[in-house]
Amino acid sequence: MPEEELLKIEELSKHFGGVYAVRGVSLDVRKGGIWGLVGPNGSGKSTLFNTILGLYRPDGGCIYFNGRKINNLSSHQIYGLGIVNSFQVPRLFFQMSVMDNMLVAARGHQGDGLFNSLFLRGGWQNQERDLIDRALGLIELVELDKLVFAPAGELSGGQRKLLELARGLMAKPRLLLLDEPAAGINPVVGKKIFQKLQSLSKNGTTFFVVEHRLEILFNFASWVYVMDRGKMVTQGQPEKIIDDPAFYQAYLGAE
């Protein structure tokens, strides 16, 4: 059975003035599993994610999701199609509680509309209860259950990363882009999270993960892309990649 293609990128380029952050990158992510993206600092991984997300307009190339071209969609529409991101530097709503941060991400909350919020209060109150239950489960997963009503601004750096991740999961994505989910996280929790991602990936969510902690990522990823200076230099199964000279070249650098 051929795996279904979810995300397809063709010859994507993005530059900032004279900095060519992404140069002609092509890749495929098929449905299911954990997909890795690695490369040294500044190789263009976050730029690639942000471009997929519609935060940057590509300067060249195409992005397809489920066969549909999404280059020109705004990021709320891209969320609507099922792509959600968890930022490298958490972008939380810092004055709002952990719980409210989670609930903002919920998909299809009826009370999100102006009219419903005023006149159909009965309708969304029940929905809100279910969403809170789901949010509590995810908050527990990332071990923030003592801080449910604390403002996100009071969280530590690692806790912010964890909330950012949980918020992404709350959005029930079809494709979740995770930009260094394990950075600054204690290794035990980090491993637990990857195990959770693995189990979720069997139920229809696909993960595309940037991670510098290669020892964790290579344990879980089914396929890894390697970027260097804006270009895709190699790709393959993790056990093959660690023997790939191009991979070492990227990391150890040609001076």
Binding site: S97, D100, R167, A171
Partner: protein, 314 residues
């Protein structure tokens, strides 16, 4: 008796400015939209009310029309302005307010120019005492304030309120979580403008005559102080702010007749405003009241349960 009339008059002003403060709080306090052109929508409401009352429409229709026309203006200005960065938005709406004032000032055929427009009373009973007339106005103003307050409270304690706060905190992240920020901002701008228009109508109705001089940028400034002093994103707070600032303004006005000052006494009020702002910024930068957290029934249940568990554990 004079004192009573004075107090009732003050109450009307607190009510009208309370509506304006609630509306700016929706825009700025909850959504982060720095509307420096509040007076424009206040003016639109007042002139709409006056013009329609002159052709004989009943007062409630004039009020509704004032709110609607202001909302339309709010939408029109928000469309280009919301695409701009926040600081450009501020400049655009600030200029818009002044332009509108200059238009009504110079277009005699439309709005009476400098002489302004006169307005007939909402409920005209011949021979009533000024006190009864004031009470009618107070009832009218406070009914409208109640409606605006309830709408603002319901909105801020709903998922919608959560979304607009999220947009205020980080609009890029909110958009990446599926919230169409342009739509939300336009809605809030319309709603805020409608409330300001309603307040304008009430103002015209109360004064029974409006002139361009009433709509100087200082009005916008005053509403901002009310919100900043009371506490942005707290509807009760900004009401308290509105009352305090109105009382303060009156106090300064009375005081200047009794105190000999080495400066032009009519500036005293502005100087005191400046001092008030500095005091708030230094000692209570978040305003007198803190942001009120989002409360929905489901959230309260969980919060309560958690507090109880914590209480037993500790």
């Amino acid at each position: 008796m004079d004192l009573l009339l004075y107090g009732l008059d003050l109450l009307v002003f607190i009510g009208i400015f309370g509506i304006l403060a609630i509306s700016l709080n929706l825009e700025f306090g909850f959504s982060g939209l720095a509307n420096f052109g509040k007076v424009a929508f206040f003016l639109v409401g007042a002139y709409t009310y006056a013009l329609l009352s002159q052709i004989g429409l009943p007062f409630y229709l004039c009020l509704i029309a004032g709110a609607l026309v202001a909302a339309i203006f709010g939408l029109l200005i928000s469309l280009p302005a919301l695409r701009l960065r926040a600081d450009y938005l501020a400049i655009v709406v600030l200029a818009f307010g002044e332009i509108l004032r200059l238009i009504v000032k110079s277009e005699d055929w439309l709005a009476g120019g400098d002489w302004g427009l006169s307005v007939s009373p909402a409920i005209s009973i011949t021979g009533v005492s000024p006190r009864v007339d004031l009470l009618v106005n107070i009832a009218l103003v406070f009914s409208c304030l109640l409606i605006c307050f309830v709408v603002a409270q319901l909105l801020s304690n709903s998922p919608y309120g959560r979304v607009i706060r999220a947009i205020r905190e980080d609009e890029v992240a909110a958009e990446a979580l599926g919230k169409n920020r342009a739509k939300y901002k336009a809605q809030i701008f319309m709603l805020g403008s409608a409330m300001a228009g309603l307040a304008g109508g009430l103002y015209a109705q109360y004064l029974q005559a409006i002139v361009p001089m009433l709509f100087l940028p200082i009005i916008t400034f005053t509403i901002w102080i009310m919100v900043l002093v009371g506490g942005p994103a707290n509807n009760w707070g900004v009401l308290v702010g509105a009352a305090l600032v109105e009382i303060f303004e009156r106090g300064a006005n009375i005081a200047k007749d009794y105190i000999a000052l080495p400066i032009d006494p009519s500036n005293l009020q502005y100087i005191l405003f400046g001092v008030l702002i500095l005091l708030v910024l230094f000692y209570r930068p978040q305003g007198l009241f803190k942001e009120s957290p989002i409360k929905t029934r489901a959230l309260e249940v969980v919060r309560h349960a958690r507090e109880q568990v914590k209480g037993e554990g500790g």
